[in-house]
Every structure is written in C-alpha cells, then in structure tokens.
C-alpha cells in the first residue's frame, strides 16, 4: 500500500517536473521569436496599464509635472487599504497623466501582467507555429481577467451598479479572492499551454 502511495507521489512529481520543463521550453521558444516577444511586451504593458487604471491609480488629471511622496513611505507602502490593495506612497504627474505609486500594487500588477504576457506569447507562437496546436491565443488572457476585475472591486464600486449587482457579503468575498484566483488561473493556463506545445517542433 505504502509502496503504491510512494510510487503515485513520485509519478505526480515526475509529471509536474515534465510539465514545468515543457512549459519552460515553450516559453523559451516563444521568446526566441519576434512575434512572441512583441506579443509579450504589448500584452504585459497593456495589462499593467488597465490594472492600474482599474485601481484608479492611473488616469488623467490636471496638467502638470510633479512627484510628491508621503512622509514615511516605507511604512505606508505596506498598509493594506483593501484586499490586495496597499496605500499609495507617491503621486507622479506627467502632463495630463497621473499615477499613484503603490509599490506593492505595482509589483502585483507586474507579476500578473508578466504571467498574462507569457501566456499570450506562448499561445500566439503555438498558434502560428508550423505544428499549430489547437490553442486559442485568448486562453491566457482570459485567465488574467479576474486580476483586472479585482482592480475595480474596491473604491470603484460603481462597477457593481454597471453590472447590476448589489454588494453583498458573497459578492465582496468573491472580489477578495479575484487576485489569488487570477494568479492561480494564469499559472494553470500557462502549464496547460505548455502541454500543447511540441518541444521538438
């Protein structure tokens, strides 16, 4: 019995290792091509912009050039203002564009944006490659949607009015879990996409 369990665990580990290896090969392959790199860059930057705009950290404001920083930015940066949202420590204005800098949200957005970008780059390369697999390029991008939605969840609750939902404990709980769900979904789709790619192609 225990031998079976051990064998099963080993098999799972081996399977995951192979999945990760295949995904790594797929990612390297995607980045070796220009269309993969362009897709990654365009998608990642776009995602980060929309994520920050969703948080209302990025947007248009009165014309000006300015950088202003709060007192004690290090302490402020880790102050949670809502689930997966932290206190902005600086305001950067460049022309009509305003950016509230919340370092942890920028980092979180960058991680999600990178995952979305990699997903889409691998999908696009696989889709356009000579041994095209049946991978729609939207798979990875769709996984990033919860991350975007989470940006609108707090402090911009009028999205609930737009979609016709009334805030309830359930809705608020769902919103709280959007970011971790997005992260897991993005990693999951990336591994899944990896399985669809023939490393020898």
């Amino acid at each position: 019995m225990s031998a079976d369990v051990a064998a099963g665990s080993q098999s799972t580990v081996t399977h995951v290792e192979r999945l990760v290896r295949q995904t790594a090969v797929a990612v390297r392959g995607a980045f070796s091509r220009r269309d993969g790199r362009v897709t990654f860059a365009a998608t990642s930057v776009s995602y980060l912009v929309v994520y920050l705009a969703g948080l209302r950290h990025l947007g248009l404001g009165p014309w000006g050039f300015e950088v202003s920083v709060v007192a004690d930015p290090l302490a402020r940066a880790t102050r949670l203002v809502s689930p997966f949202q932290w206190e902005p420590v600086a305001l950067v204005a460049a022309g009509p564009v305003e950016l509230l800098v919340s370092p942890l949200n920028v980092a979180l957005g960058a991680i999600l944006a990178t995952l979305v970008g990699v997903n889409l780059a691998v999908s696009v390369v696989a889709y356009r490659g000579p041994k095209a697999c049946k991978i729609g390029p939207g798979a990875g991008a769709a996984a990033g949607l919860p991350g975007l939605l989470s940006g609108f969840a707090c402090c911009g609750p009028t999205i609930l009015l737009v979609v016709g939902l009334q805030a309830s404990a359930t809705v608020l709980t769902v919103f709280q879990w959007l970011v971790p769900f997005a992260g897991l979904a993005l990693v999951g789709t990336l591994l899944w996409v990896g399985t669809k790619v023939d490393p020898d192609a």
């Binding site: 009165p62 050039f65 689930p83 305003e98 969840a153 009028t158 009015l161 309830s168 608020l172």
Partner: protein, 366 residues
C-alpha cells in the same frame, strides 16, 4: 477651474517639484477668529471623560432597536482604517482652492470661524478629526447615504471601521472602539452602546455659495498626509450629478425600502428623542416654508436661499412663519433663516433611502 490643485498646494506652501505630503504633523486649524453659530439645542454640553467622546444628555429616537442595527452591520469591503481619516488637516485660503463654483462643500461655522471641507476630498477619507475654534470635532461624510454630519469628539478621534449599516458609514472611536453609525449618532456596539454623540450642523452647499456667504472661510487642502487622485470620485460626480449619485439603485440593501420617493432623492431630515421627520429638499427650497410634526409637535423647515439649505425648528405653539423677501416673519419681526426665534433642531441632508431605512414610516413632507 482656473487653478490646478498642484498650483494651489504650492501657493499654500505644500509642495514643490518634489514634495512631501502630510509630513508636517501640525494640527489643522486654519487659524481664523473664533465664535459660534451653534444653537444650544444642537450642541448640548455634557460631561466628557478621558478616552471617550462626549455624549448628549438625551438619546435620539432610533427607528430600530440597537441590536437590530448591530446585527445588520456588514463589511464594506475594506478593513478598519482602510479608508483613512484625516487626522492632521491643513487649510488654505479660498482664492486658489481647486474647486469649481458648483462643487459641493461641507461648511462649518463655530465662533465666527468658517471652514469648508470639499466633498472631493472627503469622499476619500470620510472623517476629518479637526479642531475648530479650539474645539475638537469630527466632520464626517458618508458618500453612499449622502450625509455630512459634525460631532464633538472630545479627547478622542474617530476612524472609519470599514463597516456599513443601511449603506451608512459606521465610525469607531479610538478611545473605546465602540461603533457609531453616522446617521444615528448612537453607539450600537462596544462599551458605549446606547450612548448618543453631541452633534453640530454641517451645511451641504456649493463652493460658490459658501464662499459668497463666508468670504473669510478657509478650505481643507489636499495636503492630507495621503496620496489620492482627488477630483476623481470613485462613485461618480455631483457636478454634474452622475454615477452612483444619479442612479436609482443602492449598492447595499437598505434596512427598509420605501417607494414614496426615489432612493437618491435628497431630503432634509431631523430626529429628536421622540421621532424623526423628513422634508423634501427641492420642495422646501421652492416653497421656502414647510411644516410637519413629530409626536404631535409641529416642526417648521425654512429655506436658506443663499446656501440652498434648510433649517428645522420645533414650533410647539404653531406660531405663523411667513416667508418674506429678506427672511422670515415671525411674531411681526423678520429673521434670517438660521435665526428664527424658535428652538432649532439639528437637521441634515441625506438620501431618501437612508432616512427611510433607518426610520421606517418616517413622515415625508413634500
């Protein structure tokens, strides 16, 4: 808008090219003269002990029992102090405030000292722990119920609990951590459960009107100690009205629904120890005088044409209050709308659904 907020901040010494917001740690009084426009009935003095906000001698009427209110408190989706109160407010001169004439402000006058708190700032903070005319006060605003109210805070500050009841801001005091729904001004949880805060009038008006009436006013600046994109209201806009403020839907279920008016219709309401009463704001501004009653006692609402607000007075003898060109005629004499020879009760603007939810069956005069 003639002046950007950055220019204004520079003008009041806030920021340069690289600035530090809220680093001063200095108190927030504007430093104007002191005096009072309060009526005794609005700010009954009572004892205050250390670590507790001062409380009123008389409890206010509640439309539900305290336990029901407490049981209906829900998370607003943010943690305690996730919406940070302004604890070190700073004030600037009116000339360069980055406000449009029609922007809503919440005005306070005490002992001749006039202060304006722009809605565009308070929507991000909801509570300002301030000192006006030497008195520690909290000026509070709940965006979801459209209510701006002032409370004496004594030695303690108030914070935003992150909880709501009937969509209304639930404050907590940093002395006892009791929870105080703003509209009720009554603690519904904690050591002070059942106690009632001392209140004072906060006038919801426009920047243009406030400035015309109080040219010496000071204005809360955006140097709040926090970085926010002030001017980008997450709920919509009042100037012009759109988003949540114009929608007929609420974000959270009200305690009670009442179809006598649109949920977001603005009413001027008052509550005493005996009951509550609401007047349709648009109607009172048009008609100038409206009357209603609480528990058999007449109450009269009169319009302030300059500030586009209304005041409510108890009128137990049902004396005639007549609107005339320059004020209101009572017993053969003319008086300003905020100075009738009657006992003024605290009244404030609010969305209909909020009043109807907290005070089921409340009389609605229109």
């Amino acid at each position: 808008m003639d002046t950007t907020r950055r220019e204004w901040l520079r003008a009041v010494g806030g920021l340069g090219v690289v600035g530090v917001a809220g680093c001063s740690g200095t108190g927030g009084s504007g430093g104007a003269a002191e005096g009072t426009d309060r009526t005794d009935s609005e700010t009954d003095e009572s004892t205050s002990s250390a670590g507790r906000p001062p409380t009123a001698d008389q409890s206010l009427y509640l439309g539900h029992d305290v336990e029901t209110i407490s049981d209906n408190i829900v998370s607003g989706g943010v943690p305690k102090d996730g919406i940070p109160a302004i604890d070190d407010p700073t004030f600037g001169p009116p000339d360069e405030a980055p406000l449009d004439p029609g922007d809503p402000v919440f005005g306070v006058v005490r002992d001749g000292e006039a202060k304006a708190y722009p809605q565009r700032i308070l929507v991000f903070h909801e509570i300002v722990n301030d000192t006006v005319a030497g008195d520690p006060v909290a000026v509070t605003y709940c965006p979801l119920t459209g209510t701006a109210q002032g409370f004496e805070r004594g030695p303690v500050e108030f914070g935003v609990s992150g909880r709501l009841v009937n969509s209304n801001l639930t404050m907590y005091d940093r002395g006892t951590d009791s929870w105080w729904p703003q509209v009720l001004a009554t603690a519904v949880r904690g050591q002070m459960q059942g106690a009632t805060l001392q209140e004072f009038r906060v006038v919801w008006t426009t920047w243009e009107a406030w400035r015309a009436e109080h040219p010496d006013t000071v204005v809360l600046t955006e140097d709040t100690g926090f970085q926010r994109r002030y001017g980008t209201d997450p709920y919509g806009s009042y100037n012009p009205k759109r988003g949540y403020y114009a929608s007929d839907r609420t974000l959270f279920s009200p305690l009670e629904s009442d179809g006598r008016a649109d949920p977001k219709r603005v009413v001027v309401g008052t509550r005493t120890s005996e009951g509550a009463l609401t007047f349709d704001k648009e109607t009172v501004l048009a008609e100038r005088v409206l009357t209603g009653d609480i528990d058999g006692t007449q109450y009269v609402a009169v319009a302030d044409d300059v500030l586009s607000t209304a005041y409510v007075y108890a009128n137990p003898d049902a004396v005639t209050v007549k609107a005339v060109d320059d004020g209101y005629r009572v017993d053969g004499e003319t008086h300003a709308p905020d100075a009738l020879p009657l006992d003024r009760t605290l009244a404030f603007d609010g969305m209909w659904f909020a009043w109807a939810g907290f005070y089921p069956g409340v009389d609605y005069v229109r």
